[in-house]
Symmetry: C2
Subunit: 212 residues, 2 copies
């Protein structure tokens, strides 16, 4: 083949494709090995924390995933916002598949009453324990539970004990900023959502489908 | 009131409750002001990036939210896994409300063919542009689009132009690790999901409802 500019370009493109193929063959070997080594299955404790967006929405994405696989789900929302959330409106469409409990009375700066918040959190935990005792429920979401720890409304050690006593294959997702260290240590998977930037900072208000 | 231990304890608890109330009154003022200042509404460009868990599941949680508010949603998955995902199985139940397209052929290390991946990414983007031109769709999820940028399968500048031309109130969520800088600059809200720990590292395999 003569080295006209067209032929040189064609040879370079081929070489690039070939290098890509070789790299991907190596990567496939690594990924297949990793998957082969990760064979154990059991209920996971996942924690979504950090100050960024995505802690609760990620938990609700997992609810959708679980429902897609025909699994049953339980949800306890420890903090209720000012309005009904889209996730609540949506998942309440499936009463056979999702047990959905909104227990909080509002943000802590809305009630301004520590004693009432403690009682509300205690009642919410009782509902959570019912879900955690039900082997028919594959995934339990404890939304904004970390807020209750942060204000000292619930005792972390007691809650960890209840979590340890759940059915062996049940998954649990805990959300909320400021996850306590003991919970992070007990968890299998922990994601920290950090805020790179947020539209709220530029004067954009919370919008349907995005923030609630 | 005499200062028996019981009375002292009661007084301390009351004082604590009162301090809590005062702090929450101040916090409410701050939060109400912030909400009052954030009044503008328009379609947001959100980016979920980072190496931690929660980028895609957070986007699918927003899908659930949007559906709860009666909005219509479009989804394009740029990378298809080995198996059908729970989110795909679930959201395909709502063909009137969700336009769901799985376009990728598999992970890049599965196809090992750069030219074929580029063609697949191009076709996926054509489908995305249809959704981005439809003012009836309130939220568009471009799942794992960042992977296509990372491998140079799609041109960021062209895609940003298509995103700028979408309907004014349409929200877009882009997911995938390694979001390019130009996309981060163009975005309204960016979350970086960092990995604190992951069950996969301890030999637990990917499980239904959690990872897929």
């Amino acid at each position: 083949m003569s080295d006209t500019p067209e032929n040189v370009a064609a040879t370079n493109a081929e070489a690039r494709n070939e290098r890509h193929r070789e790299r991907m063959v190596r990567k496939k070997t690594v990924m297949d090995e990793r998957i082969a080594n990760a064979q154990s299955e059991r209920g996971l404790l996942l924690v979504n924390t950090g100050i960024g967006k995505g802690k609760s929405s990620s938990a609700f994405g997992m609810v959708a995933r679980a429902l897609g696989h025909g699994l049953k789900v339980g949800v306890v929302q420890f903090i209720k916002g000012r309005v009904s959330t889209g996730e609540q409106l949506f998942f309440k469409r499936f009463p056979e598949e999702v047990r959905y409990h909104v227990m909080g009375e509002g943000f802590t700066w809305e009630t301004q009453d520590r004693q009432r918040d403690i009682e509300t959190a205690g009642k919410a935990w009782e509902v959570a324990v019912e879900l955690l005792n039900d082997p028919g429920i594959a995934l339990v979401v404890l939304d904004e539970l970390n807020i209750a720890f942060k204000h000292g409304y619930l005792d972390v050690d007691q809650i960890l004990e209840d979590l340890r006593n759940r059915p062996l294959t049940q998954h649990v997702v805990v959300t909320g900023r400021g996850a306590p260290q003991a919970l992070i240590e007990a968890a299998d998977t922990v994601s920290d959502m950090s805020l790179v930037k947020h539209a709220f900072q530029s004067g954009i208000r919370a919008q349907k489908g995005i923030e609630f």
